[in-house]
């Protein structure tokens, strides 16, 4: 049997400063996440320079804390993995420099991880999932359907033509005067709301191809809010708007999933699993609805626990373990990048 391998993972591509220790038996020995939400909240969005400054001042202690919680001495590590993109470059660089320097001191392999692949491979950590599967990645910066055939083997089946799903949640929350980040705020507000009070569009519904679009939905919400008059929204209306908006996104994704399953089956006739990953996958209404939509297609939906859907370093460490196992580690020269598509053009 292959000996246990232990990898330190680092994540700093957006507004979470995170470090984790994960081993090849799929044990998450530590998963430390320092969120910067409070710092960015006044700006109603992530301010890249503020994020980068915060990462630079906190990442070393975050790593130290992860190793302490994991009771893991440096000598027990087999590799250091970091998100090397895509993301806000200032923050990404803090993470990759840190990882490279740790690797250098302890003569360990460095592994440059694609953040989207980390989201996409998370169910292999949490649910021992085998390849191939269909992944729906929905996060703050991305919305894509990807056929995942192996480590580093991804085919893009569909993507958003405008806003990402998480971005749509964030913009809607801003419009409704809810907090940042918007997704959780909308979900909370929607809890007491009537999802059928305000009819909103289902962009691209029924159309062939697995692309998505969310900007029209946001515009429709702007008009509905405007029709409520100049008064500030009362809590009941706000809840109904949040619920209606959430339902529109959920229904849109359910419709798009049907198309994506078709495209996926053309590549992998035997595939039976849909993975829901990325920050928006934390949404309970979405999980429930897509679970049903997948079942209707004869597929099973797997979504990692919510805290492993939003940005974290355990998913980064996991990709490190996968890459260590297949021998594709990175050189210290490996560049960090703001843009790093997971897979080439639509199939």
């Amino acid at each position: 049997m292959e000996p246990d391998r232990v990898v330190l993972g680092i994540e700093s591509s957006c507004d979470e400063t995170a470090a984790a220790v994960v081993d090849s038996r799929r044990r998450i020995r530590a998963n430390v996440i320092l969120s910067q939400h409070a710092q960015h909240s006044p700006f109603r969005g992530v301010v890249p320079e503020l994020a980068a400054r915060s990462h630079a001042e906190r990442l070393d202690l975050t790593v130290q804390e992860a190793l302490r919680q994991a009771e893991c001495p440096w000598e027990a590590l087999d590799a250091v993995a970091a998100t090397a993109g895509p993301g806000l470059l200032g923050g990404v660089l803090v993470g990759t420099v840190t990882a490279k320097c740790i690797a250098l001191v302890h003569d360990l392999p460095y592994i440059a991880v694609n953040h989207l692949e980390a989201h996409a491979l998370t169910p292999r950590l949490t649910d021992c999932l085998d390849f191939p599967y269909l992944a729906l990645l929905v996060s703050g910066g991305h919305s894509q359907f990807v056929a995942v055939a192996g480590v580093g083997q991804h085919a893009l089946l569909g993507t958003t033509r405008d806003d990402a799903a998480g971005e749509a949640f964030d913009k809607a929350a801003r419009l409704l005067g809810l907090g940042f980040p918007g997704g959780p705020a909308i979900e909370r507000a929607a809890h007491d709301g009537d999802p059928d009070r305000f009819p909103l569009p289902r962009p691209l519904a029924g159309q062939a191809g697995a692309d998505m679009s969310f900007s029209g939905l946001k515009t429709a919400l702007v008009h509905v809010v405007a029709r409520q008059g100049a008064r500030p929204l009362d809590d009941g209306t706000r809840a109904d708007l949040a619920a209606s908006f959430q339902k529109a996104i959920v229904e849109t994704l359910a419709d798009r999933l049907e198309q994506a399953v078709r495209a996926f089956r053309r590549l992998h006739a035997a595939g039976t699993v849909v993975v829901l990953a990325g920050g928006v996958a934390a949404n309970q209404a979405l999980r429930a609805r897509l679970s049903g939509a997948a079942a209707d297609q004869g597929m099973r939906l797997i979504a990692p626990p919510a805290h492993l859907c939003t940005d974290n370093a355990a998913m980064v460490a996991w990709v490190g373990l996968e890459r260590l196992a297949d021998g594709t580690v990175s050189a210290l020269e490996e560049p960090s990048r703001a843009r790093w598509p997971l897979a080439g053009g639509s199939v």
């Binding site: 409070a38 700006f43 109603r44 980068a52 070393d60 660089l93």
Partner: protein
Amino acid sequence: MLFLFFDTSLDRLSAGLAHEEQVIAEHSEDCPRGHADRLAPLLRDLMAAAGLRFGDLDGIGCTLGPGTFTGIRSGIAAARALGLAANLPATGVTTLDALAHTLICVEPAGAPVTAVIDARRGELYFRHFRPDGTPVGAPLRAPAASAKSHCPPGTRLLVGSGAAILRDVLGCGLPRTDVRAPSPRALAVTLNRALRRHQGHGYISGPKPLYLRPADATPPADWRQPPGEA
């Protein structure tokens, strides 16, 4: 005191190894951008060429800024990670101190020195020093046009990328336009002093960046605390 040092804060990348004030290995290259990805391989090669392991070192030193935000952070993140991983003290000196000493460590200046970096957008970063290199006051950021009010009277040596600009504003001073970034020797001299205080300690806490300029970010005018958030 044997230590590894580097400067990533300006458009050159310098790194080296020093024993006390003596540079025993060094490398400098033009580096308008991309310090972060260049740094680790450079340090690896320096250590390998010198036949040293991190366990042989007594400390890590870097520049704190001012300079480019990303450059500063690359150095800070590297110093912190190396210090943490090798359990060595990691500390820094301001880029302005290292710049001033780039003159002073070669020949006694004979006159006060102002290290001055072109901060773009019509601004300068600067700090004044006595002829022996003792700083006078804190590092400053000011519009070039009003820099005069922050400068003591008298003739001074001006060093750094903003030297010519400040000379024009002051109407006097001797710009040394050839010196635009700290030399390895100046880094060794200033960082040796800074690290000496921590000799024999392990990693305690990392050096703090000196940006001198706030991040570009203003909350929307109508911002109020969202309901339900502390």
